[in-house]
Amino acid sequence: MEKNSHSGVSRRKFLQKLGVAGIGATSPLFISSCSGESSRKKMKVLTLDNKLIEVDATELKIAKASNDKSYLQQEGREGIKGKKFVMVIDLSKCRNERKCMKACQSAHQLKPEQHHINVLEMEDEISGISYFMPKPCQHCNNPPCVSVCPVDATFKRQDGIVLIDNERCIGCRFCIAACPYSARSFNWTDPRDADKYKDVVYNVELNVPQKKGTVTKCAFSADRVREGKLPYCVSACPNGVYYFGDANEDLVTNGTTKETVRLSKLLFDNSAYVLMPELGTKPSVYYLPVRTNNS
């Protein structure tokens, strides 16, 4: 009953960590033939055809799908079938703690002045009461930024996520001009910690490493979402502001309480709205208005 008592399970876990057993057919296990210094350490590993073999520890090279750029590009452009990701932001819960912004900036290698998500202080036009409004990319269903891109560098996927491929972006910044939500940012100079990320394989779903002279934007944490995890900002929020989920399931999960609720009911019960509906961009981000009785 103790954590380490299941020896079978823990070996499995160990193999998964090596990226051998868990990833599947896309990740062959590489055994490099030449090894510099031979060590006496032997390791047992599982091959794809379920045979246990013993190899020298130094010969074991970790092969993961996440190291293969063309695979990441293909999977990143396709998106996840049958999904339509949406976010719901409950404004009455936001206390401007900015944990979302920090988590986002550290995950996406952004500088402090670059925002994929930005918490804005807004003023209600009628009452004059001010409130805080987190503003990620709206992942519009009629995305003006994607329309104007000259090279397909920014694109919309079948699951509704709008991504940017900074391996292709030419840096014309037409998308920045076209976005009415000011949701995009540009790498005017070398990105933050450029040296540290120098050898990282580019993942279009994470848009890291960032590149000088290219546009960057909120990706709805497509890399996390693929693993069934909530986006960086959503999980970082301490106040339960964010709900994230799949509109096709009609379920959204709160990032803080992990409570899963019906999307349609949540939106209807709280008179949800979208930003600037008159522009016809059809955002995938919904806002629940500020209410005093629930703050």
Partner: protein
């Protein structure tokens, strides 16, 4: 004057007993341990409960954002809390004291253990103690799921190892979602070992009308969990978000009207340009 001192002394003892005195769990409960493994699932379950039941006073663990009241609720990741045994924590949650509610009324045993699992997840050095299972009767629960489409209800039958109905089992049913499970309801089986759960027929399943239904049941130390794909709602067809030809589609899926307009003007104008360029050498022939 001495009377006054007595009053003060009396009041002090009152306060002392109210909050300054250490809150102790009965010895016999101190060594209680969970018989379930504190895995990710139970931690997540506890997390949800924590947000709804505990966070308002205790704040988020490690964040030191508990509310200011006396006695102080304290941060649950602090050493003061983490140094207590699982049994002590269980007792305190179950029994409550003063401003701390008696959660034993609202939560069942497993739920309280899941809360402890969540709180322990903030303690790196914590090792879950091994339970002593000698002499403990662990009921073996078998779950049988079916769907009654006349009333749109999920029917859960709980059976013991001999196939007889098992009454008084706490049953929770969920719909599996991409990021979390949606709670359909929580109920207790009737004497026939049956629990019903409403399923909104408007809720979308997959393209065949299937839903992944998760049912968790517990009684005493026994628990069971079943995940089953069930046909419970009408089939829906999901539209890809990029279906059709739009101005924002990738270049291969540009709208036809645009392709036709673009190519015909391009061919028309460049055709004329090429006609002129090709014709220019004729000047030489004319001489």
């Amino acid at each position: 004057m001495p009377k006054f001192i007595y009053i003060i002394f009396g009041l002090m003892t009152c306060f002392w007993s109210a909050f300054a005195q250490e809150w102790k769990a009965p010895e016999e409960e101190k060594e209680n341990v969970s018989i379930r493994l504190f895995d990710n699932e139970i931690e997540t379950e506890g997390g949800v409960l924590f947000m709804n039941s505990c966070k308002s006073c205790h704040g988020s663990p490690t964040q030191e954002d508990f509310s200011l009241m006396l006695p102080s609720p304290g941060d649950l990741a602090s050493a003061k809390v983490q140094n207590q045994t699982d049994g002590e924590l269980f007792y305190k949650i179950r029994a409550g004291k003063g401003a701390m509610p008696k959660f034993g009324d609202a939560l069942d045993q497993n739920e309280i253990w899941s809360l402890i699992a969540y709180v322990r997840s903030f303690n790196e050095s914590y090792k879950q103690p091994e339970p002593n299972l000698e002499g403990v009767v662990i009921p073996n629960i078998t779950l049988n799921l079916s769907f009654d489409d006349n009333v749109d209800k999920l029917v859960v039958k709980t059976l013991d190892e001999n196939g007889n109905p098992m009454p008084d089992v706490t049953v929770k049913a969920f719909v599996k979602g991409h990021f979390g499970n949606y709670l359909l309801g929580k109920s207790r089986c009737n004497e026939l070992g049956i629990a019903y759960f409403d399923i909104d027929s408007k809720m979308p399943g997959d393209e065949e009308g299937n839903m992944d239904i998760i049912v968790k049941a517990s009684k005493g130390f026994g628990s069971a969990k079943v995940t089953q794909k069930m046909r419970v709602v009408d089939a829906v067809s999901f539209k890809s978000a990029i279906e059709g030809r739009h101005l924002w589609s990738v270049s291969k899926r540009a709208p036809y009207w645009l392709i036709v307009t673009f190519l015909s003007s391009l061919i028309g104008i460049w055709g004329t340009i090429i006609y002129v360029i090709v014709g220019l050498p004729k000047i030489k022939k004319q001489s």
